[in-house]
Amino acid sequence: MGPLGTKLLLSFLLAVSFFHLFAQKDSLESHVDPKGYANDPGQAVTGQDEINNTSSKKSQLNGYLKNMVTLNITNDSVTLDNLIHNRLNYRWFYNENLTIYLEVRNRLFAGDLVRTVPGYDDAVDLNNDYLDLSVQGPEGRSWLLQSMIDRAFLEWYTGDWEVRIGRQRINWGMNLVWNPNDLFNAYSFFDFDYEERPGSDAIRIKRYTGFASSIEVAGNIHDDFDEVVLAGMWKINKWGYDLQFLAGKAREDITIGLGWAGNLKDAGFKGEVTWFYPYTNSDRLSPTLLSSISIDYSFENSLYLQGSVLFNSVGSDAEFLDGLSFSNTGQLTARDLSPFEYSTLLQVNYAFHPLVSGGLSTIYYPGRRNALFLNPGFTFSVKPNIDLDFIGQVYFDKLAGEYQALARLIYTRVKWSF
């Protein structure tokens, strides 16, 4: 899709949003008879009729507006940036088998980094997408506007079948922080402000075979076969565990993997293992095993603990290698979750008050470099739909023989959900 098409789509979405925000809620809802459930037990198996008969909306719009101030403290300077970030999620329930999803994020960046970092406008648009559904808006010396459609897909479903075509998030992760199984768009723990993650331009066909079991095949679209991810996933529930098995090709690798989520006594026990075997260019890529395991536990008083380990068979703590990357998070793949052999995480969370919670995540990379990432955070629920967050990110690593704080970031964020 060319830039013109993208602009038209964005204009359409904006028009729809305004219509929704100002129109009376009731006028948008066409009510259907809430009675008339499936009488035939065979029909009621998936509960499709139950859902269709009790829902009344033809379309739905929600989203949020966030303002985030970032203070970046380096050894010789302090930079201050502001990000106004709006997300619109639009769903059109065309009929009982077809839903159309369109989601867009609009971001207005302003501040020191925009002014001083060359190519900042390109940097905010780094992603794995095939189609260019981003629009660079007007920009000044120290500000820029960017809009991006990160979901635009059709979902067709009938009975046990579900087919999605278009830009979508294929989330194959099962573990809580590190997801070696998440082949299509891996999640970067550092990029906390984009929890939805970019989408993939893909086709996914899924068949549900039970309450927690399914078989699916998914592939993304790309001119370059070495950028294509094409894989299948089988999910089952057995012995109180959710289990998943995957196989396919992920970019330049042949890959197989498995993931699980279950319990050890009262604690949660989750993990993922993926084996990558490059079929091209073996100089740059080597066979790699990535695996992560986590255990989490919640106390009655709301204290929450999580411990997790990520193993990367080709990871290294050699000093000449790059440390963690905070910048290319949009392009992260399951292979690049961490450059280190071992990454260990300890997460503590506590609700000090029903409206105030706080926590600290510590990631330590054992080895000669003793790299350490500290991530404290506090969330205040100011109003039912307004949250105020204070978040810190500090990263210590050895650079040029000296152990030092390579990143010190403080974020203040207000989020209004609608």
Binding site: N171, F211, G262, N263, E300, S417
Partner: protein, 249 residues
């Protein structure tokens, strides 16, 4: 002839009284069945009330006996679309923003649900009010103009229950649970549950309002108001699936 009739009537009344009178468990079961139904769909508002603030949440629920339930949060916007699914001992949480289903550890059952005064367990009932307790009558009283039995429930030794003791007041005539008191293992009152606003909903006369009041915190409570209830809807265990966690709306 008249004597026989008298004796029969007397015996019937006596036996009926004896059966009802002795089986506290049966009364708890009937009250539970009446409120819950075999299957049900409800719409309710849950309000967390504190001396200086309050938060309101709207949810839709689907349930089938005590083993299966699905809860969809429809308001506030911040949490809209969040779904909890319970199947027997397993619980999952659908997080719409990241499009992921997260399996929750059993230890989360005793935690406050969404900051309210009840736990996940209160809401999705891992323990059974019938099978996990022994029941006996301990008195009578009148609540909301109804004659009630006061029944004491003591958890069985191995039961997955945090309470040391529970008192439940159930109306004699129509088996409505009208008041509940929950005590800890040391015998201290932890929570009171007060029911009210009895009216016809889903074809049954029921208390449509429930206040969950922690005993040691003045001014704190969680209010549950039922808006719609539909009983005995034709849903099967397979309705409670990952697929439907994404589909319900």
């Amino acid at each position: 002839m008249r004597d026989i009739l008298f004796v029969t009537t007397f015996l019937t009344a006596f036996l009926a009284g004896e059966v009802l009178g002795q089986d506290a468990r049966e009364i708890v079961r009937r009250a539970d069945e009446k409120r819950r139904g075999n299957t049900a769909r409800t719409t309710m508002t849950i309000t967390i009330i504190r001396p200086t603030w309050s938060r309101e949440m709207e949810v839709k629920t689907w349930s089938k006996d005590t083993d299966y339930s699905l809860i969809l949060i429809t308001s506030p916007a911040r949490d809209k679309g969040t779904v909890f699914l319970k199947r027997k001992k397993e619980i999952w949480n659908w997080v719409p923003s990241i499009e992921r289903n997260i399996k929750l550890p059993p230890s989360m059952m005793m935690q406050s649900w969404m900051g309210s005064d009840f736990t996940n367990d209160d809401l999705i009932k891992e323990s059974s009010i019938i099978d996990d307790y022994t029941h006996r009558f301990v008195g009578d009283s009148v609540i909301l103009g109804r004659e009630t039995h006061k029944i004491e429930l003591i958890p069985k030794p191995e039961a997955p229950v945090v309470w040391g003791k529970v008192y439940s007041w159930i109306s004699k005539e129509d088996y409505l649970e009208l008041r509940t008191e929950l005590y800890d293992e040391d015998g201290y009152l932890v929570n009171e549950v007060v029911f009210g606003d009895i009216r016809s909903l889903g074809g049954r006369m029921l208390p449509t309002k429930m206040e969950y009041i922690p005993a040691d915190q003045q001014g704190n409570k969680t209010l549950v108001e039922y808006h719609e209830v539909e009983y005995d809807i034709p849903i099967m265990a397979s309705f409670f699936s990952m697929q439907n966690m994404k589909r319900v709306k």
